[in-house]
Amino acid sequence: MIHLSPGRVDATRRLVLKGGAVVALAGVAGIRFGLAPALAAANDAYPDAAFKVKGADGAIQALYGKAAEKSDKVRMDAPEIAENGAVVPVSVTTTLPGVTSIAIFVAENPNALAASYRIPAGTMPSVANRLKMAKTSNVIAVVEAGGKLYSASKEIKVTIGGCGG
């Protein structure tokens, strides 16, 4: 390697750089292709991007494209302490009119978005399910009503393997 002429080193470097660029382009194209059908199908699409985002704020942004404001009209029922992080019962209800969707986020999970509900007119804005939580974390409920976002959050302590306090 020491005896390589400067010209040859250059050529190798160029090749490496070229290779890198091709990989980068392929990567971008892959993402484009992946997203295009999802965007095309509009409302019925699986919100792929939002499910892959880490952090609650980022996930809310990815799902709705805007931030949520806190509201006391969104009520979330959840335990203070979850003895088993694999089954944490959470329910969300709201008195807001014109609710179109409800989403639940767990801030510290590998992917923050847990579930998103589409609520057509005639269905009560009241849902309950059970979440998996990796560790103690804020759980955030976001309600979309009349085109605006409202949220409520609560910290749930996970004591898996502990004494259950």
Binding site: N109, L113, P120, N129, M133
Partner: protein, 109 residues
Amino acid sequence: MAEDVKPRVRVPKTASAGEVVVIKTLINHVMESGQRKDAQGNTIPRQIINRFTCEFNGEMVIDVHMEPAISTNPYFEFEATVPASGTFKFTWYDDNGSVYETTEEITVG
């Protein structure tokens, strides 16, 4: 795992017109998150129910998109108004392409 999947649904048998009924559903499913590793250190591939829908006489009541953060044996509870007698149809969509369906009648009287 698919052969073990059995949906269970609780809907009131009767209701008065326009009444709000509580519907509870549960389906037994592993909900493998895709985050865990087996004894050899290989990632166990993700297999979850990724979508759940409920229709009443063909009209959508609720449509849920799910992520691995939903617990094993996903349980859902929600409320719907019942304008007339009819059939609730529940559908679960698995990552592996399976679709599980069940229906429940309700009589308005």
